[in-house]
């Protein structure tokens, strides 16, 4: 039998009195119990505080090595040391423009300069392995394809030492047009009729804005919101949505797409993240907002301001994946096949133009591409829906858009051009989606933000435990705290040495946070 709580106020006050008496009587045992249950494995507070202050006080900057090679310049006008100092001065100027972001290079960069003119090489560094006169046989007058040139430079600059050195080769030629190209590896080249001062400024800009900062511009996704799980895993979930299968049913050969188009990208991202791919085809998935018919454009228009209402979370069962357990990050990529009622569907930019990719991204969530079937305009009064397959040509186009979206989600540029103060540079796109210097930028940022997060998590954990002395910390959690502290310290010391691939192990801190909660 359960008695109702007393509503009588008098009884309440009696209760309060008697409770006091009770606690007086039993005070000693309660105290004893409390002391016995105090945390079993106290975390190392001092070390944690040291670490978190060390991380939070100054942004983690990585040492970077740069190399400038001047080919066919007049060896008498500047010495190598002068050039080096002048490049560094310009770099400092460029770096000062934007505050030191997390994951960029330290201010005391080393720039080694090699002057190569008529097979006479002058270097200021001692570890410069530029093959002197290698470009002598090179026919500069001819028009070269950038991709092939990139490979040539790669073979020239191939260093086996393993250190990551970013190189810009400035070549003075007779061509009027000055052409700056950033390759797929860790080098760029400038060719054309160019003077020393101009070349120095351009080199410094490429060093700072491209190799250090990844060619970022305003409006791109900040590095902190990189779609990477704390355990370094990403699940790319591709979804083909048939809005209304009564009209038509589209299917794709994802097996082929996975093997041919996605696997090089996944391989490229391997040092940064462990990527897994999954796919599904869904039916009866209308979008949740309406589009309107535009006579001028002869299609249904979906404007930018409605984009937040495009995703229909009631009907789109994109599903979290079993594979993405715990701390992994899922990126959804959606191909939306509109129904006959809204076909062709075009996305309109704020300036009134039609989007060329017909897609958009949502940071940390993924990307959506609207794909209009070719059968769209033909009258579809068919009793039974027809089954089609998206042709391999179309699916390749779709996946090019998706790759661009993926790059954007990582905060990289997707248009292949870098517009700087000293002119435009072409960024060569890798067939693997991400060029090597871009991956360097990403892993630097990732380890930096991971360390920051680790520091704050551990710091707040230690503050919490210190403010609640009665909180019980289990042994295994204490062990994890120690692990993550070790890992953070190791990462920090590695970062100072310039090894930023080995930044795994950060996920412990988040795990602890969840355990404690």
């Amino acid at each position: 039998m359960i008695y109702p709580p007393p509503l009588n106020l008098v009884q309440f006050s009696f209760l309060a009195i008697s409770e006091q008496y009770l606690s007086i009587l039993t005070q000693t045992p309660i105290r004893l119990i409390n002391y016995r249950f105090r945390y079993r494995s106290p975390p190392p507070f001092r070390e944690i505080d040291d670490l978190s202050t060390a991380i939070e006080s100054s942004p983690i900057l990585f040492p970077c090595h740069f190399r400038a090679v001047f080919v066919n310049f007049d060896p008498n006008s500047y010495t190598a040391d002068q050039l080096s100092i002048s490049v560094q001065a310009h770099m400092a100027k460029f770096a000062a423009k934007n505050s030191p972001a997390c994951g960029t290079c330290a201010s005391n960069v080393t720039v080694s300069v090699t002057l190569d003119s008529n097979s006479n090489c002058i270097s200021n560094g001692n570890n410069v392995d530029w093959k002197c006169g290698a470009l002598n046989e090179f026919k500069f007058a001819e028009k070269h394809e950038d991709g092939l040139l990139d490979e040539d430079f790669a073979s020239l600059l191939d260093n086996n030492s393993g250190a990551k050195v970013y190189t810009v080769v400035a070549v003075k030629t007779e061509q009027e047009e000055v052409r700056a190209v950033v390759g797929k590896y860790r080098h760029a080249w400038i060719m054309g009729r160019i003077f020393e001062e101009e070349a120095i400024e351009k080199i410094a800009e490429i060093f700072v804005n491209v190799f250090m900062n990844g060619g970022k511009e305003e409006g791109l996704i900040h590095g902190e919101f990189m779609p990477l799980g704390a355990d370094g895993r990403i699940v790319l979930s591709f979804n083909l949505l048939n809005a209304d299968p009564h009209n038509w049913i589209y299917d794709w050969d994802f097996q082929e797409i996975d093997e041919n188009l996605l696997s090089p990208v996944i391989d490229a991202l391997k040092p940064l993240a462990d990527v897994s791919v999954e796919s599904q085809v869904l039916y009866h998935t209308p979008k949740s907002s309406f589009s309107f018919w535009d006579d001028r454009l002869d299609s249904y228009i979906f404007s930018t301001k409605d984009l937040p209402f495009f995703v229909n979370s009631n009907e789109w069962h994109l599903d979290t994946s079993v594979a993405a357990g715990g701390l992994s990050k899922i990126l959804q990529f959606v191909v939306y096949v509109p129904s006959a009622k809204e076909c062709p569907l075009q996305l309109q930019l704020p300036n009134g133009e039609i989007s060329t990719t017909n897609g958009f991204i949502s940071p940390m969530w993924g990307g959506i591409v609207v794909w209009n079937p070719s059968a769209c305009l033909t009258d579809s009064k068919i009793k039974h829906p027809l089954r089609y397959k998206i042709s391999s040509e179309d699916s390749r186009k779709l996946f090019e858009v998706f790759m661009g979206q993926l790059r954007q989600l990582f905060g990289l540029k997707s248009d292949g051009l870098f517009v700087g103060a000293s002119g435009t540079s072409i960024l060569l796109a890798s067939e693997r989606g991400f060029s090597e210097w871009e991956l360097d930028v990403l892993s630097r940022q990732h380890s930096c933000f991971n360390l920051l997060q680790c520091g704050t998590t551990l710091g707040s954990l230690s503050r919490l435990v210190q403010s609640l002395p009665r909180m019980i910390i289990m042994d295994d959690i204490g062990k994890q705290v120690k692990y993550s502290l070790e890992a953070a310290r190791l990462t920090l010391s590695n970062a100072l040495l310039g090894i930023y691939d080995a930044s795994a192990g950060m996920f412990y801190s988040s795990a602890i946070w969840m355990d404690c909660n």
Partner: protein, 688 residues
């Protein structure tokens, strides 16, 4: 009961809206950057096999009139995918979540059922394939067979329960404790040691479990037969069981190409709406007429566009068919023709709103004089403008009974008090039914019955007290038990499991098993909420291994349909017993509270009176009382006396109270009367 609600969508929506601003600001992705090398087209080699093996989805609905004026509706959906090594891991129809589940936990076979209500074996049949496969114990039943090393089976099971719990928004994760699941050795399904079985008898089943189940279908409930699943209609029924059966041969060395198969069934028993009084014909009540629209409140608007076949069947059972013949003979001039060749759209006994596209007849068995009939209707030809609404209208009263299981199994508790009791399983032969005895006697003089029972650890069964009664007489236990396996319960570690094969003589009328038990004590933390309700002992599974519940149909079916395959599958006749409710000694949970309250009251009274006594000064109080009594008079009288004193020019005299009191009382009385009258008038007025 714990009900989760995993809504990633919610989370996602907030993200989207948050980042919409970001989207506006960011440039439209103008991409198209890289040329991706197209490697040589290699899949042509395996294309030949892949074309034959493809993902398939079929849907079917079986309707069957039941003898007790109800209708059974059995939805059947099947998705299949060829093995991964041939087909790859990207799918077009098969649900991604289930495929990942199978692969992650290496599930070889799994069955999960959510049931509400109890299958009435006596009225709805106990011998047919549907009752053997779709009649499930109330609540949740889950069994799974894993393809992992023996020592990892328990871990896989635990992970699987958590994954399913998230997937189906149910408290399946309560099955992770070793006290709540068991590992049957041979009786339940014959898998060696890698099968785990668990039930949650008290799990409430509702739409939140159905919605994720529907999400596994490619068309969900947007199109096809599943569009019939109007939630109020299907949960209004007498029995509701949603089931998910999964088989996979992706692992292991078997080179079969069956792949992974997901079978989803929903079995409901509904009461057709009979408007007004029951229709009577010649003194007998007619069976209720029904249509899809009257049963579900919806019609079928065509098939699910991606399904391979989409059929509706109406089944007339064997007993009903013979009954129909009888009625026909009586009402008309006797005809020699069988019912098969009759017009099913409209005959003298019943009328169907659509004529069947095909009539499938069960192949007659030796024991059966008549065989059941399936009327097939194709949904493909119907669309929005012409929805499919199948109706059945009875013209003549028909009475029949369902085919019964060889013995009717029931289980009950014996004994009284909170200390000890006994579980009894009774098997009764139903006299109206002569099929099992026939089958039994042909096989030999023995009837073999397989019993599997799991008992939670707090019901401490003494297995040595097992007694077998046949036809009311105590028999020697060992003579009647062919095989027995017992794993006794271990406190707070594992439940007690009993598996046995009982051998009964042919022609047995009743048989009973009794087992005595003591009721254990739980720690106060282990009591579930509302412990006074009692504790459930999961259903025992009784299977008749000598009897096959399968119907074989005429083999002129060119394409074998999964729903018919399910009926034809050779399975033992299985029935589940009732869930037992054992009241355990529960502590008086309010006791500490009561003690505190009483103690406090006593303390308060003591201290209150003590304080009172200590603080009180008797002399002072008496003086105050006196002065108070002197001052005590009505405000009106004092005012009047003051006034009169002023008028007379004399000092105020204390008037004699008794002289003024009558008028005051009068005033008060009048006021009271007016108040009461007013209230009465108001009352009257208000409630008119």
């Amino acid at each position: 009961m714990f009900k989760c609600c995993l809504h990633s969508q919610l989370q996602f929506r907030s993200e989207t809206s948050l980042e919409s601003d970001h989207l506006m600001g960011s440039r439209e992705p103008i991409v198209l950057i890289f040329l991706i090398l197209i490697s040589t087209y290699e899949s042509s080699a395996k294309g030949g096999i892949a074309e034959e093996l493809n993902e398939e989805f079929t849907e079917g609905l079986l309707l069957r009139p039941l003898p007790d004026r109800k209708v059974l509706a059995h939805f059947h959906f099947q998705s299949s995918v060829p093995p991964t090594r041939i087909y790859g891991r990207h799918h077009h129809l098969f649900p991604k979540s289930i495929y990942q589940l199978v692969n992650k936990f290496r599930v070889r076979e799994m069955e999960l059922s959510f049931t509400q209500g109890r299958w009435n074996y006596e009225r709805w049949g106990g011998y047919d394939p549907i009752s053997s496969s779709s009649a499930k114990p109330p609540g949740v039943e889950l069994w799974a067979d894993f393809d992992v090393p023996l020592d990892q089976v328990d871990d896989s099971w635990r992970n699987l329960t958590h994954a399913l719990s998230g997937l189906f928004c149910a408290s399946i994760n309560f099955l992770e404790h070793s006290t709540s699941y068991s590992a049957p050795q041979w009786s339940f399904h014959s898998f060696a040691g890698k099968l785990r079985y668990g039930t949650l008898p008290r799990e409430a089943v509702c739409t939140e479990n159905l919605t994720p189940w529907l999400k596994l279908l490619p068309c969900r409930d947007k199109a096809g037969l599943s569009a019939l699943m109007d939630r109020p209609s299907i949960y209004k029924g007498y029995y509701h069981s949603q089931r998910l059966h999964l088989t996979s041969d992706d692992f292991g060395t078997a080179k079969s190409n069956a792949g992974t198969m997901l079978e989803q069934t929903l079995t409901v028993v509904l009461q057709p709406n009979t408007l007004g009084a029951r229709a009577m014909v010649s003194g007998k009540t007619l069976q209720p007429s029904w249509s899809l629209n009257s049963l579900f409140g919806r019609k079928v608007h065509g098939k699910c566009s991606v399904s391979k076949s989409s059929n509706v069947y109406v089944q007339f059972e064997q007993n009903l068919v013979s009954e129909l013949k009888e009625v026909r003979k009586k009402s008309e001039a006797p005809e020699s023709g069988i019912l098969i060749h009759d017009d099913f759209g409209n005959n003298t006994i019943f009328e169907m709103s659509a004529s069947p596209d095909r009539v499938v007849k069960e192949v007659e068995n030796l024991q059966k004089e008549d065989s059941s009939i399936l009327l097939e209707f194709l949904v493909e030809d119907y669309n929005d403008s012409k929805p499919f609404d199948l109706g059945l209208r009875w013209k003549l009263p028909v009475v029949w009974s369902c085919q019964q299981a060889p013995l009717h199994a029931s289980r009950f508790l014996m004994g009284s008090g909170n200390e000890r009791g006994a579980i009894a399983i009774s098997l009764k032969s139903l006299s109206s039914n002569n099929t099992p005895t026939v089958g039994c006697c042909e096989k030999g003089s023995q009837l073999r019955i397989n019993i599997f029972q799991v008992v939670p650890w707090y019901v401490k069964v003494y297995y040595h007290t097992l007694k077998v009664f046949i036809d009311g007489e105590l028999q020697s236990t060992m003579e009647n038990i062919e095989k027995i396996h017992i794993s006794p319960s271990e406190d707070k570690v594992s439940p007690g499991v009993m598996e046995m094969i009982l051998r009964l003589p042919c022609g047995v009328i009743t048989a009973a098993l009794t087992l005595e038990f003591d009721k254990g004590f739980l720690h106060i933390d282990e009591y579930p909420p509302d412990a006074n309700q009692g504790f459930d002992i999961p259903s025992a599974v009784v299977s008749f291994t000598d009897f096959q519940a399968s119907a074989s149909f005429e083999d002129n079916l060119l394409n074998k349909l999964p729903i018919l395959n399910e009926l034809q599958e050779r399975k033992h006749v299985i029935s589940y017993t009732e869930v037992l409710l054992v009241p355990l000694t529960t502590p008086d949970f309010s006791m500490p509270y009561n003690v505190i309250t009483i103690t406090c009251t006593v303390f308060a009274l003591y201290f209150g009176s003590l304080l009172n006594v200590l603080r009180r000064r008797v002399g002072e109080e008496e003086r105050r009382l006196k002065s108070k009594a002197a001052k005590k008079k009505g405000p009106l009288t004092s005012l009047l006396s003051k006034l009169s004193a002023k008028l007379k020019g004399r000092p105020v005299e204390p008037p004699e109270t008794p002289s003024t009191s009558p008028s005051l009382i009068n005033n008060k009385l009048v006021l009271k009367v007016i108040l009461v009258a007013g209230i009465a008038a108001g009352w009257q007025y208000y409630f008119r």
